[in-house]
């Protein structure tokens, strides 16, 4: 039953937990470099193979933001509904279980996990939480992302 006056419909609730289309991303050196340059992050761990080889990672790894991008499939491919047209990114939280290494093939799968509503300055606002699980080529979960979207 939909609560009286709630903007969260049964149709929306039915989409909770439904997995979206997977996004597959190969972790390439150029892609990592572009990301590091966009951030303005000169850390040699992201770019210098000789340097990275001597660290505990044994090679280049990606900076923390790497999977927090539409290209990597965060909050992508998932069906979601909102009664509103205007939308904003509310925030992101990433939990890192293993490093993202150069040469990995990452598969991202997202699902809506939660809706909530709040009364804002311009009326009702809908908060949608989308969880994304990132697995590497060995089927190990390496990162779990939780993204909040606000529509109003």
């Amino acid at each position: 039953m939909t609560q009286e006056g709630s903007i969260i419909t049964d149709e929306m609730k039915a989409l909770i937990g439904v997995e979206g289309t997977p996004t597959v991303l190969e972790v390439e050196k150029g892609a990592i470099r572009m990301m590091a340059e966009a951030i303005g992050d000169p850390n040699p761990l992201w770019q210098d193979e000789d340097y990275a080889k001597k660290t505990k990672y044994g090679g280049i790894i990606a900076p923390p933001v790497f999977l927090c991008s539409p290209r990597a499939g965060i909050a992508r491919g998932v069906q979601r509904k909102s009664p509103f047209l205007r939308a904003l990114a509310g925030g992101d939280e990433l939990e890192y279980l293993k490093p993202v290494k150069l040469g990995d093939t990452i598969t991202a799968v997202s699902r809506v996990t939660e809706y909530s509503e709040r009364e804002g300055k311009r009326g009702k606002m809908l908060f949608t939480i989308i969880e994304t699980t990132f697995k590497n080529q060995r089927d190990e979960v390496i990162v779990i992302g939780r993204s909040t979207y606000i529509s109003y």
Partner: protein, 143 residues
């Protein structure tokens, strides 16, 4: 690289070295290409104005990336970032100084891991925290 930070070096209340950034429109375009986020709000001023903003907006996820650098610069290559999260509370525009800051809130040992919790944020030129967040890191111990 700076000297490695150890668990024994940090205490609750300690500040991280701040990271000062000055995002330009060019940087936003670089981020758009690197991340695959081609929403016009971040590079088309007319589009941003039609939405009621004075200028294009710095991507939230780019600010997440700046906070990521704040942490990885601080913890060094022996540290491991376990969790990073932030809320895109306020908007930021290119041409403004953004300062990423952080403070240690707690430290503890769990399952042999030396964990440190931090409050982190992006501050604009007016000193407003536009992007508050939290991070949990694992630091090496001198044992």
């Amino acid at each position: 690289m700076a000297t490695q930070l150890y668990y024994e070096d940090v205490e609750a209340g300690m500040d991280m070295p701040p990271l000062v950034k000055h995002p330009t429109t060019k940087q936003l375009v670089q981020w758009a290409g690197a991340s695959g986020d081609y929403y016009e709000l971040h590079y088309d001023k007319d589009f941003a104005r039609a939405q009621g903003f004075p200028d294009v907006l710095v991507h939230g996820k780019l600010k997440f990336g700046l906070l990521g650098q704040l942490i990885t610069d601080w913890i060094g290559e022996e540290g491991f970032l376990k969790k990073l999260g932030c809320s895109y509370r306020g908007t930021d525009h290119p041409g403004e100084d953004l300062v990423c800051k952080g403070k240690v809130t707690n430290k503890y040992v769990e399952d042999d891991q030396h964990l440190v919790e931090c409050e982190i944020w992006v501050e604009n030129g007016k000193g407003e925290k536009t992007t508050p967040g939290k991070a949990t890191v694992i630091l090496p111990s001198r044992g």
